[in-house]
């Protein structure tokens, strides 16, 4: 953790490593246009980790796909997404970059670890072949060298007997081992940006911690920047530097991780914290899920998207919560003093 973690979140830094500005993603569906990401902003510096946190459906995966260029119309099967805004990586704008350039960056400069390694690995190719292939797209060199490299990476992520296991198929690995394979594949070209989309949700609890640790380790070793996507604030606590809280495709608040836990600003964040299990806390205390359900993205709210589920709207003058979109972050109409007064007793999250 650096001395002034806020730095990485300031928008006016000269050329941050990754800068996402006013990102919006719409999906054309049979029922109408779905706005999955709605004016998202964040920045990320080299060597740091950003946590993207929100409930299911808040647009976390869509954001990561947009950064990877996987929603672009030029990939044959992307289908129905329309993306606007700016994504700058090393100062280069990605949304308007030609397809060839994006292919060069994908898997080499930026790579991704998916949520469910069983479905994200090809069932008919050996894991070694899949990793070697990822290497060979971006490097000249012999098949043998690529195979070597694959085995080396498999060893690095903690697969025993990597040389032999490289010939096995994904279904022959356990869930945790499969996710290690996925991580090896993402790292094979020394990426500068690593995106992990809920990398541990498909795994059981004991394996989760190992995988998170592995990701943190390799990120340190490779010096990459990372985006860790999760719906679980408990996961974020020990692993990331900064947090972006997302709801309905928008940023609700953003803060360095310590400050987020010490003084969360947005009622939605309070709700998330209240529904996060604590490993160190009082086990008799019931977890309180946020009442209500995520909003209908077909008809984006005019005001704060969280207002219908928020219990503090009556503390705001008039009906600003329902009609006005909060202009600044934290995206909440409550006065700062009110927020301090209303915040549930400050608590440390699981770590």
């Amino acid at each position: 953790m650096s001395l002034s973690p806020e730095l990485s979140l300031r928008k006016d830094d000269p050329e941050p490593f990754l800068q996402v500005t006013d990102l919006a993603v719409d999906f054309a569906t049979a029922d109408g246009s779905v706005r999955a990401v709605d004016g998202l902003n964040f920045t990320l510096e080299r060597g740091r980790t950003l946590g993207l946190v929100g409930e299911s459906g808040s647009g976390k995966s869509v954001t990561s796909l947009a950064v990877m260029g996987l929603l672009r119309p030029d990939s044959t099967t992307a289908g129905n997404a329309r993306t606007s805004g700016e994504i700058r990586l090393n100062g280069e704008e990605l949304l308007s970059a030609p397809a060839r350039r994006i292919r060069e960056l994908r898997g080499r400069t930026m790579s991704m670890i998916f949520q469910d390694p069983l479905s994200a690995l090809h069932p008919y190719y050996s894991v070694g072949a899949q990793i070697a292939e990822a290497y060979r797209v971006h490097h000249k060199g012999s098949r043998k060298a690529a195979k070597e490299r694959a085995a080396e990476l498999l060893g690095r992520v903690g697969i025993p007997r990597p040389r032999e296991r490289a010939d096995d198929f994904p279904h022959q690995f356990s869930g945790g081992m499969r996710q290690r394979v996925m991580i090896a594949m993402a790292l094979v070209n020394d990426p500068e940006l690593l995106i992990a989309d809920e990398p541990t949700t498909a795994l059981d609890v004991t394996v989760q911690a190992q995988i998170l640790e592995l990701i943190a380790d390799v990120q340190q070793e490779f010096g990459s920047a990372a985006i860790l996507i999760t719906h679980d604030l408990g996961v974020v606590a020990g692993t990331v530097d900064d947090v972006v809280i997302m709801y309905a495709g928008r940023t609700m608040e953003t803060a360095p991780v310590d400050r987020l836990f010490a003084a969360p600003q947005h009622p939605y964040t309070w709700g998330l914290l209240g529904s996060t299990p604590r490993l160190d806390g009082d086990r008799r205390k019931r977890l309180a899920p946020i009442p209500g359900s995520p909003p209908n993205l077909l008809e984006p709210a005019a005001g704060c998207p969280f207002a219908p589920r928020c219990v503090f709207t009556d503390r705001v003058e008039g009906d600003a919560c329902a009609t006005d979109r909060p202009a600044a972050l934290p995206a909440c109409h409550l006065a700062p003093d009110d927020r301090d007064a209303l915040r549930p007793s400050s608590r440390k999250a699981a770590s």
Binding site: L65, M68, L70, S75, T76, T77, R103, E104, L105, R106, G107, R108, S111, M112, F114, D116, S119, A120, L121, H122, P123, Y124, Y125, E133, A134, V137, H138, F169, H171, M185
Partner: protein, 329 residues
């Protein structure tokens, strides 16, 4: 693996036994009498009796089938004395109409059927899969609609109609190819292929449609899979994402259907052979039924059934190789 194959082979034998028995039974349900057909004129009761005995028709049906099976294993002879006809093992029966063992007839007819099958199958596989790929990649566009229309036409049009149209246009109108008949492969590859090109094209047109539809639907399903997103996320170019990762995943059901279709076609393409007057297995079977030539019908039916059953087994074994998650046990 060996135990699996052994078990399957026993199963195959049982299926073939039943197929043979069913053929016998059906044949005996038919009201006409093959002996009377061969009896000649005038047909006195004595001659009829003699013919029956000679053809073995005076025995009960199950005994006839038993003798047939014996002949299959050890060979047999028909009639007695000088008139006896020899049929060495494996004897598939003896045609009294043609005065020769059924096996000999199959021996002449089978190369025709194989020639038709091999060429047609290669054509429809290539064109069907290619069309399906184009449809899937360009789904919703005019390419897709055009391919769909062509496919539906192929599925909906009867083989004989396509065949007759082909003969009319390519054969008579434009005189591009011979209209019927067959040239042996040994007579040179040119005449062989030129006689076959029409039946190939017709069978390919009718079958490619099914493969195009299957390929399209399989590919569209695969395109939605996470591992295809992974392939793109690795930076692979579209041609590899589609031509390698997607096609490989879509291949299993296509290969399965292909194996079954080849097995089926090796048993004789009845309509195609009829339309193009080619004397393959289908023609043989049709002629056997027309002449009430029981040995030919039983022999060809079993021979054809063998290919269907064998294709079934081969496809299942192939499946184990195509999908690493399947283990044969």
């Amino acid at each position: 693996m060996l135990r699996y194959i052994a078990r399957r082979l026993i199963g195959m034998a049982v299926v073939l036994l039943i197929t043979g028995a069913v053929t016998y039974v059906i044949f005996y349900w038919m009201p006409s009498d093959p002996a009377r057909l061969s009896c000649g004129k005038p047909c006195t009761p004595e001659t009829l009796h003699q013919v029956r005995a000679y053809m073995g028709l005076n025995q009960p049906i199950w005994e006839q089938y038993w003798h047939f099976l014996e002949g299959l294993v050890g060979g047999r002879s028909f009639g007695i004395g000088q008139a006896a006809a020899q049929c060495p093992a494996p004897c598939l029966g003896y045609s009294f109409h043609q005065s020769m063992p059924v096996r000999t007839m199959i021996g002449t007819a089978f190369p025709v059927t194989v020639s038709i099958t091999v060429g047609a199958a290669a054509l429809w596989l290539v064109f069907g899969v290619a069309t399906g790929m184009i449809s899937a990649v360009k789904r919703g566009t005019w390419w897709d609609r055009g391919a769909t229309l062509l496919s539906l036409t192929g599925v909906a049009t009867p083989t004989y109609l396509v065949g007759l149209l082909g003969i009319l246009l390519l054969g008579f109108q434009w005189r591009l190819v011979p209209v019927n008949g067959y040239a042996n492969f040994t007579d040179g590859i040119g005449p062989w292929a030129s006689h076959l090109i029409l039946p190939w094209a017709v069978l390919a047109f009718v079958n490619a449609a099914v493969y195009a539809r299957l390929t399209r639907s399989q590919l569209l399903e695969v395109f939605g899979e996470d591992y295809i997103t992974t392939a793109r996320a690795k930076g692979l170019p579209e041609r590899i994402v589609i031509g390698k990762h997607s096609l490989r995943a879509a291949l299993t059901p296509i290969a399965t259907m292909f194996g079954m279709d080849i097995g089926l076609l090796l048993g004789g393409a009845i309509i195609t052979e009829k339309v193009f007057s080619m004397q393959g297995l289908g023609y043989l079977l049709l002629q056997g039924v027309g002449q009430l030539d029981l040995p030919v019908v039983v022999g060809v039916t079993l021979f054809s059934a063998f290919f269907v059953v064998a294709a079934n087994l081969l496809v299942d074994i192939l499946y184990g190789y195509l999908d690493p998650r399947v283990s044969l046990a």
